[in-house]
């Protein structure tokens, strides 16, 4: 058998251990990243319920695909790629339903469709503090592409290049989105600075 599980193991080592049948390794990995994935999803989508569904789906995918993970990219990049793609999937479904039922056209970007419902109100209301509510309000005021790029960068620690690739944007576009998002957040949250 291999050596004992060490909570200080890297993400990649933990995932590999889990893929080889070491169940507790997943629990460590999950506890290590659950908050980041949760914040990324919650702040990108319309409701807490959707965020919970997507959170579950993301981690299900991690468990399912652990054997196939190739450590050519950081685990967090892989994780947030899954999260992003799950969100896009969900958005496409919403878009199809909305398009068929009401709009009859597909004009808005995918992520914007996912956030058709007012994100700021419910999320701000569910925030556990004044600061949390203010942050939710501020993020909800960002254009979806900026919010997504910023959250991938800060929560997923994706590089600009990775953000660009994942969101199918050019490097410059991704960089601009993150920059604009930061500027807007600083402005909206100035009272907390």
């Amino acid at each position: 058998m291999g050596r004992m599980l060490d909570p200080a193991d890297t993400d990649e080592v933990l995932l590999k251990r889990y893929a080889r049948g070491d169940g507790p390794a997943f629990a460590i990995l999950y506890r290590r990243h659950e908050a980041r994935i949760w914040r990324y999803l919650l702040r990108n989508v319309a409701s807490r319920a959707i965020a919970e569904e997507l959170t579950q789906e993301v981690w299900f995918a991690v468990a399912r695909e652990a054997e196939r993970y190739q450590p050519t990219a950081r685990f967090t990049t892989w994780l947030f790629t899954i999260a992003h793609n799950r969100m896009v999937d969900a958005a496409r479904r919403v878009r199809r339903q909305v398009s068929l039922d009401e709009l009859g056209h597909e004009s808005a970007p995918v992520i914007e469709q996912l956030t058709l419902a007012p994100a700021a109100g419910p999320l701000a209301a569910s925030a556990a503090s004044e600061e949390g509510a203010a942050l939710a309000q501020a993020l909800a005021q960002l254009p979806a592409e900026q919010r997504e790029a910023f959250l991938l960068h800060i929560e997923g620690e994706l590089t600009v290049e990775e953000v660009a690739r994942l969101t199918a944007a050019s490097f410059e576009t991704a960089k601009s989105r993150i920059r604009y998002a930061r500027a807007k957040l600083r402005e909206l949250l100035s009272e907390f600075a």
């Binding site: 997507l54 959170t55 399912r64 695909e65 190739q70 556990a128």
Partner: protein
């Protein structure tokens, strides 16, 4: 490698602000989400371990066929040598070790329905044992042995290709293709199905609807013993919940392949779609449940 734009002060300020405010909002998913995730991971892990252990457990049956010849040949040669040397004193050839038996039941059960029925038969013992992880309820003997005679029997269970999610790029390509059945719907369904499993305890149990609800609950938890009892009691196999999900759909959503096999063997209709028009096969394909996909197709799922 990929430096951010040269506005480091702004970067630090905005990011630090975000992090500080985030830290003040310790929001997390519901406890049930945590539980579902960790249970799912454990189940997958158990399946994986089961897959890893399979070649060893198959050695008697499948790989045994590989060592059968040299072993039998060697035993026969030794026996002949013994006869040659001890012939006058040992008139009959009795010392050769018995060759490993080949399980003819397993071989004859290679037919699909036979395998399913064999699975159900051996499932009785497993269903009676208390609360193993659902995946562990999968009876290991007859169907596995039957499959062992098939060309792909030595492949670990989870080696069925699902390249779309193997790496970020294929994952993105898959998302862009938009071909996968709805994640949201699937997860919602799974979550609701989990709720269904709790429902019978609280709801009145009388009547056909109650039995059907209990059946869905058993499907959600992968309880083969309960499924068998409810089926024997006449529960409606094709009863649907408020979202149009049958017990078969719920077992599929939870990845309970043994429960799926049981329900199909009992005669559950594999082509009943839920309220969103999704069939069990759609759900299985979306979740890449190769074993369930095969079972559903064998029973005519479209």
């Amino acid at each position: 490698m990929n430096p951010m734009p040269p506005d480091h002060e702004e970067t630090d300020e905005a990011d630090a602000l975000y992090r500080r405010l985030s830290a003040a909002d310790p929001s997390r998913p519901d406890r049930r989400v945590h539980q579902a995730i960790l249970e799912h991971a454990i189940r997958r892990c158990a399946e994986r371990s089961e897959g890893d252990a399979r070649p060893a457990s198959y050695s008697w049956q499948h790989t045994g066929r590989r060592w059968f010849r040299p072993t039998a040949f060697g035993a026969l040669a030794a026996a002949l040598l013994a006869v040659f040397l001890l012939g006058p004193r040992t008139p009959r050839l009795t010392g050769a070790p018995p060759a490993p038996e080949y399980d003819t039941r397993a071989a004859s059960a290679a037919g699909d329905d036979g395998a399913v029925m064999a699975e159900l038969g051996t499932g009785e013992k497993l269903a009676e044992s208390p609360p193993p992880p659902p995946s562990m309820l999968r009876p290991p003997s007859a169907p596995r042995e039957a499959r062992a005679s098939a060309p792909r029997a030595l492949e670990p269970k989870r080696e069925a290709p699902a390249p779309a999610q193997e790496s970020p790029e294929p994952e993105l390509a898959r998302a862009k293709a938009g071909a996968q059945a709805s994640v949201t719907n699937r997860v919602t369904a799974a979550a609701t199905a989990a709720a269904d499993s709790d429902a019978p305890a609280a709801a009145p149990r009388g009547g056909a609807a109650g039995a059907a609800a209990q059946l869905r609950g058993a499907a959600a938890s992968g309880d083969l013993g309960m499924l068998r009892e409810l089926h024997a009691g006449g529960a409606d196999l094709n009863g649907q919940d408020a979202a149009g999900r049958t017990a078969l759909m719920i077992a599929t959503l939870h990845g309970h392949s043994a429960a799926v096999a049981a329900l199909l063997a009992y005669g559950a209709d594999p082509n009943i779609v839920d309220a969103s028009g999704e069939s069990p096969l759609d759900a299985a394909l979306a979740a890449d449940e190769s074993e369930i996909i095969s079972a559903l197709k064998r029973h005519g799922a479209r």
